[in-house]
């Protein structure tokens, strides 16, 4: 039952110039490929139900803890560190994990990167202004992220880094200085938000001196509502959201239409 196929999971060195993707290999372990259903069946016969449940609990804990920092979970890490001998019953374990997350926690486990098998948790429920708890502490970093995502969206998906820095400066947030709330702003924006997959910070080819652009990250595509951002824009500018017709179209497109693509510029 050994799987020697390497192609689908390994990456060629020249593949990604993106700063956002620093993928690690499986440290010499065989790359994980989905077991067939017969393999799963045979696997299930090896273990008792409570053993499998135990693994399910471990996977759940792992995912929940990873989610604290909003770092996506790699399938390879799950298999190597948690599942180990249970790798052949991976599909069954994941099925139970997804079910528990859904019914007990109200979370969805979403694969944001189908090539590298990265997963995140999002909330099944949507917050609205009316239901948001008034006195709950909020994370100011989310405010900063929100501003950046809004600008990128309103600018149709890609912006040069200079635009972001200049906009933030107008809000008294200077990437060159230590900010009272955010500290090292540049690091927060280009490193932390990128690792969390909220943003992509990509080098523009053929630029001299080197320039970078910002785009929405894979997590943002799934977790953030463009329609709601547009609604907020409307409130701020005292305009109807529909006046930004292109953004409106994009925000209200049927799901699946707005996938992250390499170029969203006309």
């Amino acid at each position: 039952m050994t799987q020697r196929k390497r192609l689908s999971n390994s990456q060629t060195p020249s593949q990604s110039k993106r700063r956002s993707d620093s993928l690690e290999e499986d440290d010499g372990d065989m790359p994980f490929t989905q077991p067939s259903s017969s393999q799963v069946q045979r696997g299930m016969e090896k273990f008792t139900n409570s053993q499998v449940d135990q693994k399910v609990a471990e996977v759940l804990q792992y995912i929940l803890v990873k989610d604290q920092k909003k770092i996506p979970v790699r399938r390879a890490d799950l298999v190597r560190n948690i599942l180990k001998d249970y790798r052949n019953v991976y599909p069954e374990i994941i099925r139970r994990v997804v079910q528990t997350l859904d019914q007990v926690f109200g979370f969805k486990l979403v694969e944001i990167d189908t090539k590298n098998h990265l997963y995140i948790l999002i909330n099944k429920l949507e917050l609205s202004e009316a239901t948001a708890p008034l006195n709950a502490p909020s994370n100011p970093k989310m405010g900063l992220l929100f501003v950046i995502l809004s600008v990128i969206f309103m600018k149709r998906g890609v912006v040069k880094e200079s635009l972001i820095w200049n906009t933030l400066k107008k809000l008294r947030v200077d990437p060159g200085e230590k900010h009272a709330l955010f500290g090292d702003v540049k690091k927060l924006v280009t490193d932390e938000f990128v690792r969390q997959r909220y943003l992509e910070f990509v080098r523009v080819p053929h630029t001299e001196p080197i320039e970078y652009e910002f785009r929405w990250g894979q997590r943002a595509e799934v977790e953030v509502s463009k329609a709601k951002i547009l609604e907020f824009m409307g409130q701020l500018h005292e305009q109807e959201p529909q006046t930004w017709s292109q953004q409106y179209k994009e925000a209200h497109a049927p799901p699946g239409a707005s996938q992250p693509s390499t170029s969203q510029q006309r």
Binding site: D67, E129, A132, S138, P140, L163, T167, R172, K228, L236
Partner: protein, 315 residues
């Protein structure tokens, strides 16, 4: 690397402020401008060349630094830059300068493309600068009261919860899974309280040790005296009270009693009642130690100021 002549090849766009009209350029004959033979001094003068290159770099920088400014449909700055570039190009003779010209063209074209897209886009444009101003209001910027200029500059006092307000509003747009945290926090590998106790104990021990040392010295000293008195006259019993009482100091007396008790405790001295039933103290001879240790008794001796004063009288 020459720019095309104005007119035919470049359909000029009569869109008012964003229209680009290239300066009309007469081609300057067929002079090959790349550094050969019979040229004027200027063409070879390195200072002039440097100047041209420097001016190009300035132009490029100004486009890059003031990008948003130039994007604004309300001015002609991009056109001005291009006109400036046209002028410079007349003096270009060498590849280095021409390369800079090309670089400027790339930067300017990029900007031009964006300006054009602003024009032809349906729907309202989005201006990040205006967005910032509106957001500052939302964050609760307290503007200074010196008129309207401050509003545009975004000056004023930003409250401490400015970003919290934004974050709260932002939360509604996110479907973030709430994260869990242990209510009591996690526990440390090494619990701090025992550490404190250990440190305190160590301090106490040190204090005790130094006390103990002092006591031991005193005890030894007293033992010394006791032995010497005994040796002076082994047959006469040493009155306990005579031994411990210091007629000049009550506290010293008490200390002597304290130290003497150690001698007795350690079996180095013994107390007994003489024929008059008065307590006496004597050092324990080493051969007799074994016997003495089997018949140990305890008693409590005390003395009060009053008694001491009385004894002063007698000693």
């Amino acid at each position: 690397m020459r720019k095309s002549k104005g007119g035919g090849e470049d359909p000029s766009r009569h869109n008012g402020s964003t229209g680009r009209r290239r300066g009309d350029r007469n081609s300057e004959g067929d002079h090959d401008g790349f550094g050969s033979g019979s040229l004027q001094d200027d063409d070879n003068d390195p200072a002039t060349r440097r100047e041209i290159r420097s001016k190009y770099r300035d132009l490029i920088n100004s486009v890059q630094q003031n990008r948003e400014d130039m994007l604004s449909p309300s001015n002609n700055k991009l056109t001005e830059v291009l006109e400036e570039a046209n002028k410079l190009f007349k003096d270009v003779r060498q590849p280095r300068e021409a390369a800079l010209d090309a670089q400027l063209l790339v930067v300017a074209t990029d900007l031009g493309k964006e300006k054009a897209s602003q024009l032809f886009a349906e729907g309202s444009s989005f201006n990040p600068a205006a967005f910032a101003v509106h957001l500052l209001s939302f964050m609760g910027l307290n503007r200074l009261e010196n008129g309207d200029n401050e509003e545009e500059n975004g000056e004023g006092y930003l409250p401490n919860d400015a970003w919290d307000r934004v974050a709260r509003r932002a939360e509604c747009c996110f479907r973030t899974a709430p994260t869990f945290h242990y209510m009591m926090g996690s526990f440390h590998a090494e619990p701090p309280p025992p550490k404190q106790r250990i440190e305190r104990q160590r301090k106490l021990k040190k204090m005790e040790e130094s006390h103990q040392e002092a006591t031991e010295k005193e005890v030894e000293r007293i033992l010394g005296y006791l032995k010497s008195y005994y040796q002076d006259d082994p047959t006469t019993p040493i009155s306990y009270y005579e031994f411990v009482i210091d007629p000049n100091s009550f506290s010293r007396t008490v200390e002597n009693m304290f130290h003497a008790s150690f001698l007795i405790r350690d079996g180095l001295a013994r107390m007994y009642l003489d024929d008059d039933k008065l307590p006496c103290i004597a050092p324990v001879e080493e051969e007799m130690e074994g016997a003495a240790s089997t018949s140990r008794h305890q008693c409590v001796t005390s003395i009060s100021m009053k008694t001491w004063r009385v004894s002063q009288f007698y000693l």
